[in-house]
Protein backbone atom coordinates (compact mmCIF):
# COMPACT_ATOMS: atom_id res chain seq x y z
CA UNK A 1 0.00 0.00 0.00
CA UNK A 2 2.75 2.34 0.99
CA UNK A 3 4.49 1.52 -2.26
CA UNK A 4 1.42 2.35 -4.33
CA UNK A 5 0.90 5.75 -2.75
CA UNK A 6 4.57 6.62 -3.05
CA UNK A 7 4.71 5.70 -6.68
CA UNK A 8 1.48 7.58 -7.36
CA UNK A 9 2.86 10.91 -6.10
CA UNK A 10 6.15 10.36 -7.81
CA UNK A 11 4.55 9.67 -11.17
CA UNK A 12 2.57 12.92 -10.84
CA UNK A 13 5.75 14.84 -10.25
CA UNK A 14 7.31 13.68 -13.49
CA UNK A 15 7.59 16.21 -16.27
CA UNK A 16 5.89 15.67 -19.60
CA UNK A 17 9.11 14.73 -21.35
CA UNK A 18 10.01 12.32 -18.61
CA UNK A 19 6.60 10.74 -19.01
CA UNK A 20 7.03 10.40 -22.74
CA UNK A 21 10.45 8.99 -22.15
CA UNK A 22 9.00 6.50 -19.69
CA UNK A 23 6.15 5.51 -21.99
CA UNK A 24 8.63 4.94 -24.80
CA UNK A 25 10.65 2.67 -22.61
CA UNK A 26 7.59 0.82 -21.39
CA UNK A 27 7.07 -0.31 -24.97
CA UNK A 28 10.73 -0.98 -25.49
CA UNK A 29 11.45 -2.65 -22.23
CA UNK A 30 8.67 -4.36 -20.30
CA UNK A 31 10.56 -3.92 -17.01
CA UNK A 32 10.99 -0.16 -17.13
CA UNK A 33 8.03 0.48 -14.80
CA UNK A 34 9.40 -1.95 -12.22
CA UNK A 35 12.86 -0.52 -12.64
CA UNK A 36 11.63 3.01 -11.94
CA UNK A 37 9.74 1.78 -8.91
CA UNK A 38 12.84 0.07 -7.50
CA UNK A 39 14.97 3.13 -8.18
CA UNK A 40 12.48 5.32 -6.34
CA UNK A 41 12.55 2.97 -3.35
CA UNK A 42 16.33 3.07 -3.33
CA UNK A 43 16.39 6.87 -3.52
CA UNK A 44 13.99 7.21 -0.61
CA UNK A 45 15.40 4.31 1.45
CA UNK A 46 11.96 2.73 1.22
CA UNK A 47 12.89 -0.78 2.35
CA UNK A 48 9.27 -1.95 2.50
CA UNK A 49 8.78 -0.86 -1.08
CA UNK A 50 11.93 -2.73 -2.07
CA UNK A 51 10.64 -5.85 -0.37
CA UNK A 52 7.38 -5.65 -2.30
CA UNK A 53 9.29 -5.30 -5.56
CA UNK A 54 11.67 -8.13 -4.74
CA UNK A 55 8.82 -10.46 -3.81
CA UNK A 56 6.18 -9.56 -6.38
CA UNK A 57 8.10 -8.72 -9.55
CA UNK A 58 8.49 -11.83 -11.69
CA UNK A 59 12.12 -10.85 -12.21
CA UNK A 60 12.64 -9.58 -8.67
CA UNK A 61 15.06 -6.68 -8.51
CA UNK A 62 15.73 -7.00 -12.24
CA UNK A 63 19.39 -6.15 -12.70
CA UNK A 64 22.74 -6.48 -10.95
CA UNK A 65 23.24 -2.73 -10.58
CA UNK A 66 20.00 -2.44 -8.58
CA UNK A 67 20.77 -5.53 -6.52
CA UNK A 68 24.15 -4.09 -5.53
CA UNK A 69 22.34 -1.27 -3.72
CA UNK A 70 19.18 -3.14 -2.74
CA UNK A 71 20.63 -6.31 -1.20
CA UNK A 72 22.56 -4.48 1.56
CA UNK A 73 19.35 -2.61 2.44
CA UNK A 74 17.21 -5.74 2.48
CA UNK A 75 19.74 -7.65 4.57
CA UNK A 76 20.50 -4.65 6.77
CA UNK A 77 24.21 -4.99 6.00
CA UNK A 78 26.43 -2.99 8.31
CA UNK A 79 29.90 -2.29 7.11
CA UNK A 80 31.63 -3.67 10.16
CA UNK A 81 35.27 -3.14 10.76
CA UNK A 82 36.97 -6.34 9.77
CA UNK A 83 40.66 -6.94 9.91
CA UNK A 84 42.80 -7.60 6.92
CA UNK A 85 43.28 -11.35 6.47
CA UNK A 86 47.08 -11.07 6.37
CA UNK A 87 47.17 -9.78 9.96
CA UNK A 88 45.15 -12.73 11.28
CA UNK A 89 45.86 -16.36 12.08
CA UNK A 90 45.13 -18.77 9.21
CA UNK A 91 41.96 -20.83 9.53
CA UNK A 92 42.22 -24.63 9.53
CA UNK A 93 39.92 -25.04 6.54
CA UNK A 94 41.74 -22.77 4.10
CA UNK A 95 43.17 -25.81 2.29
CA UNK A 96 39.68 -27.03 1.48
CA UNK A 97 38.73 -23.52 0.33
CA UNK A 98 41.68 -23.58 -2.08
CA UNK A 99 40.61 -26.94 -3.52
CA UNK A 100 37.10 -25.67 -4.21
CA UNK A 101 38.17 -22.27 -5.50
CA UNK A 102 40.55 -23.90 -7.98
CA UNK A 103 37.62 -25.88 -9.38
CA UNK A 104 35.18 -22.95 -9.38
CA UNK A 105 33.30 -22.02 -12.54
CA UNK A 106 34.36 -18.37 -12.18
CA UNK A 107 36.89 -17.08 -14.74
CA UNK A 108 40.34 -18.09 -13.51
CA UNK A 109 41.48 -14.47 -13.15
CA UNK A 110 38.70 -14.00 -10.56
CA UNK A 111 39.56 -17.02 -8.42
CA UNK A 112 41.74 -14.95 -6.10
CA UNK A 113 38.76 -12.74 -5.22
CA UNK A 114 36.71 -15.78 -4.22
CA UNK A 115 39.61 -17.06 -2.14
CA UNK A 116 40.20 -13.65 -0.52
CA UNK A 117 36.59 -13.13 0.53
CA UNK A 118 36.21 -16.60 2.06
CA UNK A 119 39.58 -16.58 3.81
CA UNK A 120 39.00 -13.11 5.23
CA UNK A 121 35.62 -14.24 6.55
CA UNK A 122 37.02 -17.35 8.18
CA UNK A 123 39.95 -15.52 9.73
CA UNK A 124 37.76 -12.74 11.10
CA UNK A 125 35.29 -15.28 12.48
CA UNK A 126 37.38 -18.27 13.47
CA UNK A 127 34.36 -20.03 15.01
CA UNK A 128 32.78 -20.34 11.58
CA UNK A 129 33.49 -23.49 9.60
CA UNK A 130 33.73 -23.62 5.85
CA UNK A 131 31.50 -26.02 3.93
CA UNK A 132 31.76 -27.11 0.32
CA UNK A 133 28.99 -25.16 -1.36
CA UNK A 134 29.63 -21.92 0.49
CA UNK A 135 32.01 -21.04 -2.34
CA UNK A 136 29.03 -21.27 -4.72
CA UNK A 137 27.18 -18.70 -2.61
CA UNK A 138 30.12 -16.30 -2.64
CA UNK A 139 30.61 -16.86 -6.38
CA UNK A 140 27.05 -15.69 -7.11
CA UNK A 141 27.64 -12.63 -4.94
CA UNK A 142 30.86 -11.78 -6.80
CA UNK A 143 29.26 -12.17 -10.22
CA UNK A 144 26.17 -10.16 -9.27
CA UNK A 145 28.13 -7.41 -7.56
CA UNK A 146 30.44 -7.03 -10.53
CA UNK A 147 33.41 -8.50 -8.63
CA UNK A 148 33.32 -5.76 -5.99
CA UNK A 149 35.37 -7.52 -3.29
CA UNK A 150 34.47 -5.19 -0.41
CA UNK A 151 30.73 -5.25 -1.06
CA UNK A 152 30.82 -9.02 -1.58
CA UNK A 153 32.63 -9.41 1.72
CA UNK A 154 30.12 -7.24 3.60
CA UNK A 155 27.09 -9.10 2.23
CA UNK A 156 28.72 -12.51 2.67
CA UNK A 157 29.56 -11.64 6.27
CA UNK A 158 25.98 -10.65 7.05
CA UNK A 159 24.70 -13.79 5.35
CA UNK A 160 27.06 -15.99 7.38
CA UNK A 161 26.43 -14.40 10.73
CA UNK A 162 22.68 -14.02 10.44
CA UNK A 163 21.41 -16.60 8.00
CA UNK A 164 23.84 -19.36 7.06
CA UNK A 165 25.48 -19.84 10.43
CA UNK A 166 23.68 -23.13 11.14
CA UNK A 167 25.53 -24.58 8.14
CA UNK A 168 28.87 -23.29 9.48
CA UNK A 169 28.90 -24.84 12.93
CA UNK A 170 31.54 -27.38 13.91
CA UNK A 171 29.54 -30.34 12.67
CA UNK A 172 26.63 -31.02 10.34
CA UNK A 173 23.93 -31.37 13.00
CA UNK A 174 23.02 -27.68 12.74
CA UNK A 175 22.28 -28.28 9.07
CA UNK A 176 20.73 -31.73 9.16
CA UNK A 177 18.37 -30.79 12.00
CA UNK A 178 16.73 -28.26 9.70
CA UNK A 179 16.06 -30.58 6.78
CA UNK A 180 13.08 -32.53 8.22
CA UNK A 181 11.19 -29.21 8.26
CA UNK A 182 10.79 -29.63 4.51
CA UNK A 183 8.77 -32.82 4.98
CA UNK A 184 6.80 -31.24 7.83
CA UNK A 185 5.73 -28.55 5.40
CA UNK A 186 4.86 -31.00 2.64
CA UNK A 187 2.72 -32.84 5.18
CA UNK A 188 0.80 -29.70 6.04
CA UNK A 189 -0.17 -29.24 2.41
CA UNK A 190 -0.39 -32.89 1.35
CA UNK A 191 -0.52 -35.28 4.27
CA UNK A 192 -0.38 -38.54 2.28
CA UNK A 193 2.53 -37.54 0.10
CA UNK A 194 4.34 -36.13 3.13
CA UNK A 195 3.83 -39.42 5.00
CA UNK A 196 5.52 -41.25 2.14
CA UNK A 197 8.39 -38.75 1.94
CA UNK A 198 8.98 -39.19 5.65
CA UNK A 199 10.23 -42.70 4.87
CA UNK A 200 13.19 -41.26 2.97
CA UNK A 201 16.21 -39.68 4.71
CA UNK A 202 15.80 -35.91 4.25
CA UNK A 203 19.28 -35.21 2.83
CA UNK A 204 18.08 -34.72 -0.75
CA UNK A 205 17.46 -31.04 -0.03
CA UNK A 206 20.89 -30.46 1.50
CA UNK A 207 22.83 -29.23 -1.55
CA UNK A 208 20.10 -26.86 -2.73
CA UNK A 209 19.51 -25.37 0.70
CA UNK A 210 23.10 -24.82 1.81
CA UNK A 211 24.07 -23.33 -1.55
CA UNK A 212 20.88 -21.25 -1.58
CA UNK A 213 19.96 -22.97 -4.87
CA UNK A 214 23.14 -21.71 -6.52
CA UNK A 215 24.51 -25.21 -7.04
CA UNK A 216 21.81 -26.23 -9.47
CA UNK A 217 20.12 -23.18 -10.98
CA UNK A 218 21.46 -20.64 -13.44
CA UNK A 219 22.70 -17.43 -11.87
CA UNK A 220 19.89 -15.34 -13.42
CA UNK A 221 17.28 -17.54 -11.70
CA UNK A 222 19.25 -17.84 -8.47
CA UNK A 223 19.35 -14.07 -7.95
CA UNK A 224 15.57 -13.77 -8.39
CA UNK A 225 15.15 -16.35 -5.62
CA UNK A 226 17.66 -14.50 -3.49
CA UNK A 227 15.76 -11.23 -4.00
CA UNK A 228 12.75 -13.08 -2.65
CA UNK A 229 14.58 -14.77 0.24
CA UNK A 230 16.36 -11.57 1.31
CA UNK A 231 13.08 -9.65 1.18
CA UNK A 232 11.32 -12.24 3.35
CA UNK A 233 13.75 -11.40 6.15
CA UNK A 234 14.35 -14.89 7.50
CA UNK A 235 16.52 -16.29 4.70
CA UNK A 236 16.94 -19.79 6.17
CA UNK A 237 13.19 -20.09 6.60
CA UNK A 238 12.61 -18.90 3.03
CA UNK A 239 15.03 -21.53 1.69
CA UNK A 240 13.29 -24.35 3.57
CA UNK A 241 9.82 -23.21 2.52
CA UNK A 242 10.99 -22.76 -1.09
CA UNK A 243 12.21 -26.35 -1.16
CA UNK A 244 8.96 -27.70 0.24
CA UNK A 245 6.97 -25.82 -2.40
CA UNK A 246 9.31 -27.09 -5.10
CA UNK A 247 8.41 -30.63 -4.05
CA UNK A 248 4.71 -29.85 -3.90
CA UNK A 249 4.53 -28.29 -7.35
CA UNK A 250 6.51 -31.15 -8.87
CA UNK A 251 4.71 -33.96 -7.08
CA UNK A 252 3.44 -35.76 -10.18
CA UNK A 253 6.80 -35.48 -11.98
CA UNK A 254 8.50 -36.93 -8.89
CA UNK A 255 6.16 -39.90 -8.86
CA UNK A 256 6.49 -40.41 -12.63
CA UNK A 257 10.27 -40.36 -12.52
CA UNK A 258 10.60 -42.67 -9.54
CA UNK A 259 8.19 -45.14 -11.10
CA UNK A 260 10.18 -45.01 -14.32
CA UNK A 261 13.46 -45.52 -12.48
CA UNK A 262 12.04 -48.42 -10.50
CA UNK A 263 11.30 -50.27 -13.73
CA UNK A 264 7.73 -50.93 -12.61
CA UNK A 265 5.05 -51.33 -15.24
CA UNK A 266 2.56 -48.80 -13.97
CA UNK A 267 0.37 -46.42 -15.87
CA UNK A 268 1.73 -43.17 -14.44
CA UNK A 269 -1.24 -41.16 -15.69
CA UNK A 270 -3.35 -42.77 -12.99
CA UNK A 271 -0.63 -43.12 -10.36
CA UNK A 272 -0.66 -40.71 -7.49
CA UNK A 273 0.82 -40.61 -4.01
CA UNK A 274 -2.07 -42.47 -2.32
CA UNK A 275 -1.63 -45.46 -4.64
CA UNK A 276 2.09 -45.78 -3.95
CA UNK A 277 2.69 -48.22 -1.18
CA UNK A 278 5.09 -47.65 1.69
CA UNK A 279 6.92 -50.76 0.54
CA UNK A 280 7.41 -49.23 -2.89
CA UNK A 281 8.87 -46.07 -1.34
CA UNK A 282 11.18 -48.05 0.95
CA UNK A 283 12.44 -50.15 -1.94
CA UNK A 284 13.12 -47.09 -4.06
CA UNK A 285 14.68 -44.67 -1.59
CA UNK A 286 17.66 -44.11 -3.90
CA UNK A 287 15.38 -43.20 -6.80
CA UNK A 288 13.42 -40.85 -4.56
CA UNK A 289 16.60 -39.33 -3.18
CA UNK A 290 17.96 -38.74 -6.67
CA UNK A 291 14.69 -37.33 -8.03
CA UNK A 292 14.05 -35.09 -5.05
CA UNK A 293 17.57 -33.68 -5.16
CA UNK A 294 17.30 -32.78 -8.84
CA UNK A 295 13.99 -30.94 -8.83
CA UNK A 296 15.46 -27.68 -10.04
CA UNK A 297 16.55 -29.45 -13.21
CA UNK A 298 12.85 -29.46 -14.21
CA UNK A 299 13.25 -25.77 -14.91
CA UNK A 300 12.49 -24.87 -18.50
CA UNK A 301 11.89 -28.46 -19.51
CA UNK A 302 8.14 -28.78 -19.13
CA UNK A 303 6.92 -26.10 -21.47
CA UNK A 304 6.48 -23.17 -19.10
CA UNK A 305 9.07 -20.43 -19.10
CA UNK A 306 11.52 -20.15 -16.23
CA UNK A 307 9.94 -16.86 -15.28
CA UNK A 308 6.46 -18.37 -14.96
CA UNK A 309 7.84 -21.20 -12.88
CA UNK A 310 9.79 -18.83 -10.65
CA UNK A 311 6.74 -16.64 -10.16
CA UNK A 312 4.55 -19.57 -9.22
CA UNK A 313 7.26 -20.95 -6.95
CA UNK A 314 7.69 -17.60 -5.16
CA UNK A 315 3.94 -16.94 -4.86
CA UNK A 316 3.18 -20.32 -3.38
CA UNK A 317 6.13 -20.04 -1.00
CA UNK A 318 4.99 -16.63 0.15
CA UNK A 319 1.53 -18.09 0.76
CA UNK A 320 2.96 -21.06 2.68
CA UNK A 321 5.06 -18.73 4.85
CA UNK A 322 1.99 -16.63 5.58
CA UNK A 323 -0.20 -19.56 6.61
CA UNK A 324 2.20 -22.01 8.27
CA UNK A 325 4.21 -20.72 11.20
CA UNK A 326 7.58 -22.32 11.81
CA UNK A 327 6.64 -22.98 15.44
CA UNK A 328 3.65 -25.04 14.28
CA UNK A 329 5.90 -27.61 12.64
CA UNK A 330 6.71 -30.69 14.75
CA UNK A 331 10.43 -30.68 13.90
CA UNK A 332 10.76 -27.07 15.00
CA UNK A 333 11.09 -28.11 18.66
CA UNK A 334 14.16 -30.24 17.80
CA UNK A 335 16.05 -27.23 16.46
CA UNK A 336 18.39 -25.49 18.87
CA UNK A 337 17.29 -22.08 20.08
CA UNK A 338 20.25 -20.23 18.56
CA UNK A 339 19.45 -21.44 15.05
CA UNK A 340 19.35 -18.75 12.37
CA UNK A 341 15.86 -19.92 11.49
CA UNK A 342 14.71 -19.04 15.01
CA UNK A 343 16.85 -15.96 15.61
CA UNK A 344 17.92 -14.36 12.33
CA UNK A 345 18.50 -11.05 14.12
CA UNK A 346 21.23 -12.41 16.37
CA UNK A 347 24.68 -12.16 14.87
CA UNK A 348 26.78 -13.23 17.85
CA UNK A 349 28.43 -16.32 16.44
CA UNK A 350 30.34 -17.17 19.63
CA UNK A 351 27.06 -17.18 21.52
CA UNK A 352 25.44 -19.35 18.84
CA UNK A 353 28.31 -21.83 19.01
CA UNK A 354 27.98 -22.04 22.80
CA UNK A 355 24.22 -22.56 22.53
CA UNK A 356 24.69 -25.29 19.96
CA UNK A 357 27.35 -27.11 21.99
CA UNK A 358 25.10 -26.99 25.06
CA UNK A 359 22.20 -28.25 22.99
CA UNK A 360 24.22 -31.18 21.63
CA UNK A 361 25.42 -32.14 25.11
CA UNK A 362 21.86 -32.03 26.41
CA UNK A 363 20.63 -34.10 23.50
CA UNK A 364 23.34 -36.69 24.06
CA UNK A 365 22.46 -36.83 27.74
CA UNK A 366 18.75 -37.29 26.93
CA UNK A 367 19.60 -40.07 24.56
CA UNK A 368 21.71 -41.85 27.14
CA UNK A 369 18.99 -41.36 29.77
CA UNK A 370 16.51 -43.02 27.42
CA UNK A 371 19.00 -45.81 26.75
CA UNK A 372 19.66 -46.33 30.46
CA UNK A 373 15.96 -46.40 31.21
CA UNK A 374 15.49 -49.03 28.54
CA UNK A 375 18.37 -51.08 29.95
CA UNK A 376 16.95 -50.81 33.45
CA UNK A 377 13.52 -51.84 32.29
CA UNK A 378 14.99 -54.71 30.35
CA UNK A 379 16.92 -55.99 33.35
CA UNK A 380 14.12 -55.82 35.88
CA UNK A 381 11.21 -56.77 33.80
CA UNK A 382 11.89 -60.07 32.15
CA UNK A 383 9.00 -61.73 34.01
CA UNK A 384 6.84 -58.69 33.75
CA UNK A 385 7.54 -58.47 30.03
CA UNK A 386 6.36 -62.01 29.37
CA UNK A 387 3.16 -61.42 31.29
CA UNK A 388 2.61 -58.15 29.45
CA UNK A 389 3.26 -59.75 26.07
CA UNK A 390 0.83 -62.58 26.72
CA UNK A 391 -1.93 -60.27 27.92
CA UNK A 392 -1.48 -57.83 25.03
CA UNK A 393 -1.52 -60.67 22.48
CA UNK A 394 -4.65 -62.20 24.01
CA UNK A 395 -6.30 -58.79 24.00
CA UNK A 396 -5.49 -58.09 20.37
CA UNK A 397 -6.51 -61.55 19.24
CA UNK A 398 -9.88 -61.34 20.95
CA UNK A 399 -10.51 -57.92 19.45
CA UNK A 400 -9.57 -59.09 15.96
CA UNK A 401 -11.64 -62.23 16.17
CA UNK A 402 -14.58 -60.30 17.50
CA UNK A 403 -14.44 -57.79 14.65
CA UNK A 404 -13.89 -60.50 12.04
CA UNK A 405 -17.01 -62.28 13.15
CA UNK A 406 -18.95 -59.05 13.10
CA UNK A 407 -17.85 -58.58 9.51
CA UNK A 408 -20.58 -60.13 7.39
CA UNK A 409 -18.45 -60.81 4.35
CA UNK A 410 -16.37 -63.32 6.21
CA UNK A 411 -19.16 -65.18 7.97
CA UNK A 412 -20.03 -68.33 6.11
CA UNK A 413 -17.12 -68.12 3.67
CA UNK A 414 -14.77 -71.10 3.66
CA UNK A 415 -11.36 -70.10 5.04
CA UNK A 416 -9.44 -70.60 1.80
CA UNK A 417 -11.49 -67.82 0.19
CA UNK A 418 -9.99 -65.32 2.57
CA UNK A 419 -6.46 -64.54 1.65
CA UNK A 420 -3.97 -63.33 4.18
CA UNK A 421 -4.09 -59.98 2.52
CA UNK A 422 -7.85 -59.70 3.11
CA UNK A 423 -7.34 -60.62 6.73
CA UNK A 424 -4.62 -58.00 7.02
CA UNK A 425 -6.89 -55.43 5.41
CA UNK A 426 -9.54 -56.17 7.98
CA UNK A 427 -7.05 -55.75 10.77
CA UNK A 428 -5.81 -52.55 9.17
CA UNK A 429 -9.35 -51.12 9.18
CA UNK A 430 -9.24 -51.00 12.95
Amino acid sequence: MQLLSTSHTRWEELTKSELEDAQFHVQENPHIKEKKSIERCLLTDNVDGLRQNAINNPSGLLVSSLRATAWPLLLNVQHELSQDASSLKPHLEEGQVRLDVDRSYLPSDKHHLLQNVIVKLLRNHPYLHYYQGFHDVVSVLLVTLDYDETLTYDIAETLCLHHLRDFMLADMTGTTDLLPLVVDLVKVADKRFGDLLELIPPFYSLASIITMFSHDLDVQDVVVLWDFAFAMGNVTQALIYLYAVLILINKQQIIDQVVEMSGCQIDTSVTSAPTLSRQFVLENTDAFHFTLSNLTKCFGTNGSSNQDLLTRWKNETQYLISVVKLSDLPTSKDIFSGSAIKQPSSSNIDYTVRLHTKYLVARKRNLSVVKNCKKLLHRNSNNLKLLLKVSVTVGILSLVLGRCLEHNQYVGLPFHHRTWRDMCNTIWRF
Partner: protein, 206 residues
Amino acid sequence: MADLVTQEPRFAQFKLVLLGESAVGKSSIVHRFVTDSFDDLRESTIGAAFLTQTIQLDERTTIKFEIWDTAGQERYKSLAPMYYRNANCALVAYDITQESSLDRAKSWIQELQKQASADIVVALVGNKLDLEAERKVSTKEAKEYADELGLIFKEISAKTGEGIKDVFHSIASKLPVEEKLNSATKRRRNIDLNRPSTNNQESCSC
Protein backbone atom coordinates in the same frame (compact mmCIF):
# COMPACT_ATOMS: atom_id res chain seq x y z
CA MET B 1 18.74 -78.38 -21.84
CA ALA B 2 21.40 -77.33 -19.37
CA ASP B 3 23.13 -75.42 -22.15
CA LEU B 4 19.97 -73.57 -23.00
CA VAL B 5 19.55 -72.45 -19.39
CA THR B 6 23.12 -71.17 -19.12
CA GLN B 7 22.72 -69.20 -22.35
CA GLU B 8 19.84 -67.17 -20.92
CA PRO B 9 20.80 -63.49 -20.62
CA ARG B 10 21.32 -62.30 -17.06
CA PHE B 11 20.75 -58.79 -15.75
CA ALA B 12 21.60 -57.60 -12.27
CA GLN B 13 21.98 -54.18 -10.71
CA PHE B 14 24.30 -53.22 -7.91
CA LYS B 15 24.79 -50.17 -5.75
CA LEU B 16 28.28 -48.68 -5.77
CA VAL B 17 29.55 -45.91 -3.52
CA LEU B 18 32.54 -43.70 -4.31
CA LEU B 19 34.54 -42.49 -1.34
CA GLY B 20 37.77 -40.60 -0.90
CA GLU B 21 39.40 -37.34 0.11
CA SER B 22 38.38 -34.06 -1.49
CA ALA B 23 39.74 -33.40 -5.00
CA VAL B 24 41.20 -36.88 -5.59
CA GLY B 25 39.00 -37.08 -8.69
CA LYS B 26 35.99 -39.12 -7.59
CA SER B 27 33.55 -37.28 -9.84
CA SER B 28 36.03 -37.34 -12.72
CA ILE B 29 36.40 -41.12 -12.38
CA VAL B 30 32.66 -41.63 -12.46
CA HIS B 31 32.19 -39.24 -15.39
CA ARG B 32 34.90 -40.99 -17.35
CA PHE B 33 33.13 -44.27 -16.65
CA VAL B 34 29.62 -43.04 -17.43
CA THR B 35 30.15 -40.56 -20.27
CA ASP B 36 33.72 -41.38 -21.32
CA SER B 37 34.64 -37.72 -21.00
CA PHE B 38 36.92 -35.59 -18.87
CA ASP B 39 36.59 -31.99 -17.81
CA ASP B 40 39.57 -30.17 -16.34
CA LEU B 41 37.22 -28.10 -14.24
CA ARG B 42 34.94 -30.47 -12.43
CA GLU B 43 33.05 -28.55 -9.76
CA SER B 44 32.98 -29.79 -6.17
CA THR B 45 30.26 -32.28 -5.32
CA ILE B 46 27.90 -31.04 -2.63
CA GLY B 47 26.24 -33.76 -0.57
CA ALA B 48 26.25 -36.51 -3.20
CA ALA B 49 25.48 -37.16 -6.86
CA PHE B 50 23.80 -40.18 -8.41
CA LEU B 51 24.64 -41.75 -11.77
CA THR B 52 24.08 -45.08 -13.46
CA GLN B 53 26.03 -47.06 -16.02
CA THR B 54 25.51 -50.47 -17.54
CA ILE B 55 28.32 -52.77 -18.60
CA GLN B 56 28.49 -56.10 -20.37
CA LEU B 57 30.39 -58.40 -18.03
CA ASP B 58 30.38 -61.36 -20.41
CA GLU B 59 28.30 -62.53 -23.35
CA ARG B 60 25.19 -63.12 -21.33
CA THR B 61 25.65 -60.95 -18.25
CA THR B 62 24.71 -57.29 -18.03
CA ILE B 63 25.51 -55.38 -14.88
CA LYS B 64 23.96 -52.05 -14.01
CA PHE B 65 25.86 -49.89 -11.55
CA GLU B 66 23.88 -47.40 -9.50
CA ILE B 67 26.59 -45.05 -8.37
CA TRP B 68 26.56 -42.64 -5.43
CA ASP B 69 29.37 -40.15 -5.83
CA THR B 70 29.93 -38.54 -2.43
CA ALA B 71 31.38 -35.18 -1.37
CA GLY B 72 34.98 -35.39 -0.18
CA GLN B 73 35.06 -32.76 2.54
CA GLU B 74 35.57 -34.29 5.99
CA ARG B 75 32.53 -32.34 7.12
CA TYR B 76 30.20 -34.47 4.98
CA LYS B 77 31.58 -37.69 6.43
CA SER B 78 28.59 -38.12 8.72
CA LEU B 79 26.33 -38.45 5.67
CA ALA B 80 28.37 -41.27 4.11
CA PRO B 81 26.69 -44.18 5.96
CA MET B 82 23.48 -43.32 4.15
CA TYR B 83 25.24 -43.99 0.86
CA TYR B 84 27.35 -47.01 1.76
CA ARG B 85 24.61 -48.71 3.70
CA ASN B 86 23.22 -51.43 1.42
CA ALA B 87 25.99 -50.77 -1.11
CA ASN B 88 27.23 -53.91 -2.87
CA CYS B 89 30.54 -52.38 -3.79
CA ALA B 90 32.72 -49.39 -2.98
CA LEU B 91 35.38 -47.61 -4.94
CA VAL B 92 37.74 -45.83 -2.58
CA ALA B 93 39.93 -43.35 -4.41
CA TYR B 94 43.16 -41.57 -3.54
CA ASP B 95 45.42 -39.25 -5.48
CA ILE B 96 48.87 -40.70 -6.24
CA THR B 97 50.33 -37.18 -5.92
CA GLN B 98 48.91 -36.61 -2.40
CA GLU B 99 50.22 -38.76 0.41
CA SER B 100 47.47 -37.71 2.83
CA SER B 101 44.82 -38.99 0.44
CA LEU B 102 45.96 -42.60 0.88
CA ASP B 103 45.58 -42.28 4.66
CA ARG B 104 42.09 -40.94 4.14
CA ALA B 105 41.34 -43.86 1.79
CA LYS B 106 42.57 -46.29 4.43
CA SER B 107 40.31 -44.80 7.05
CA TRP B 108 37.33 -45.10 4.66
CA ILE B 109 38.21 -48.75 4.12
CA GLN B 110 38.34 -49.32 7.87
CA GLU B 111 34.97 -47.68 8.27
CA LEU B 112 33.51 -49.82 5.48
CA GLN B 113 34.82 -52.97 7.11
CA LYS B 114 33.16 -52.00 10.37
CA GLN B 115 29.94 -50.47 9.17
CA ALA B 116 29.06 -51.63 5.66
CA SER B 117 27.60 -55.00 4.74
CA ALA B 118 30.03 -57.85 5.31
CA ASP B 119 30.19 -58.97 1.69
CA ILE B 120 30.85 -55.53 0.18
CA VAL B 121 33.35 -55.61 -2.71
CA VAL B 122 35.94 -52.89 -2.19
CA ALA B 123 38.37 -51.47 -4.74
CA LEU B 124 41.21 -49.15 -3.82
CA VAL B 125 42.18 -46.95 -6.76
CA GLY B 126 45.04 -44.48 -7.15
CA ASN B 127 43.93 -41.72 -9.52
CA LYS B 128 45.92 -39.15 -11.55
CA LEU B 129 48.28 -41.68 -13.10
CA ASP B 130 48.82 -39.08 -15.82
CA LEU B 131 50.76 -37.06 -13.23
CA GLU B 132 53.44 -39.72 -12.83
CA ALA B 133 56.14 -37.05 -12.49
CA GLU B 134 54.48 -35.70 -9.34
CA ARG B 135 53.89 -39.11 -7.77
CA LYS B 136 54.14 -39.22 -3.97
CA VAL B 137 52.50 -42.59 -3.24
CA SER B 138 54.38 -45.64 -4.52
CA THR B 139 52.44 -48.39 -6.26
CA LYS B 140 54.08 -50.93 -3.97
CA GLU B 141 52.89 -49.29 -0.76
CA ALA B 142 49.25 -49.06 -1.85
CA LYS B 143 49.19 -52.49 -3.50
CA GLU B 144 50.61 -54.21 -0.43
CA TYR B 145 47.94 -52.60 1.70
CA ALA B 146 45.18 -53.65 -0.72
CA ASP B 147 46.53 -57.22 -1.05
CA GLU B 148 46.71 -57.60 2.69
CA LEU B 149 43.00 -56.81 2.97
CA GLY B 150 42.01 -58.67 -0.19
CA LEU B 151 40.85 -55.55 -2.01
CA ILE B 152 40.86 -54.91 -5.75
CA PHE B 153 43.70 -52.53 -6.55
CA LYS B 154 44.31 -50.40 -9.63
CA GLU B 155 46.10 -47.22 -10.56
CA ILE B 156 44.04 -45.22 -13.01
CA SER B 157 43.72 -41.89 -14.75
CA ALA B 158 40.32 -40.28 -15.16
CA LYS B 159 42.00 -37.79 -17.48
CA THR B 160 43.34 -40.30 -20.01
CA GLY B 161 40.82 -43.02 -19.19
CA GLU B 162 43.55 -45.52 -18.38
CA GLY B 163 42.40 -48.37 -16.16
CA ILE B 164 38.86 -47.05 -15.61
CA LYS B 165 36.99 -49.77 -17.50
CA ASP B 166 39.27 -52.39 -15.98
CA VAL B 167 38.51 -51.42 -12.44
CA PHE B 168 34.73 -51.46 -12.93
CA HIS B 169 35.00 -54.81 -14.71
CA SER B 170 37.07 -56.22 -11.86
CA ILE B 171 34.44 -55.05 -9.41
CA ALA B 172 31.62 -56.49 -11.55
CA SER B 173 33.31 -59.87 -11.85
CA LYS B 174 33.53 -60.12 -8.05
CA LEU B 175 29.86 -59.29 -7.50
CA PRO B 176 27.47 -62.10 -6.58
CA VAL B 177 25.38 -61.99 -9.79
CA GLU B 178 23.70 -65.38 -9.31
CA GLU B 179 22.70 -64.55 -5.77
CA LYS B 180 21.22 -61.23 -6.84
CA LEU B 181 19.23 -62.91 -9.62
CA ASN B 182 17.89 -65.53 -7.21
CA SER B 183 16.90 -63.02 -4.58
CA ALA B 184 15.17 -60.85 -7.20
CA THR B 185 13.19 -63.82 -8.51
CA LYS B 186 12.28 -64.83 -4.98
CA ARG B 187 11.13 -61.35 -4.16
CA ARG B 188 9.03 -61.18 -7.31
CA ARG B 189 7.45 -64.50 -6.48
CA ASN B 190 6.57 -63.33 -2.97
CA ILE B 191 4.98 -60.24 -4.32
CA ASP B 192 2.96 -62.17 -6.89
CA LEU B 193 1.60 -64.31 -4.09
CA ASN B 194 0.58 -61.28 -2.13
CA ARG B 195 -0.89 -59.39 -5.03
CA PRO B 196 -4.65 -58.97 -4.65
CA SER B 197 -6.69 -60.44 -7.50
CA THR B 198 -9.00 -57.48 -7.94
CA ASN B 199 -8.61 -53.69 -8.05
CA ASN B 200 -5.49 -51.86 -6.84
CA GLN B 201 -3.82 -52.40 -10.18
CA GLU B 202 -2.21 -49.00 -10.02
CA SER B 203 -0.31 -49.68 -6.86
CA CYS B 204 3.14 -51.01 -7.31
CA SER B 205 5.09 -53.00 -4.87
CA CYS B 206 7.68 -54.52 -7.11
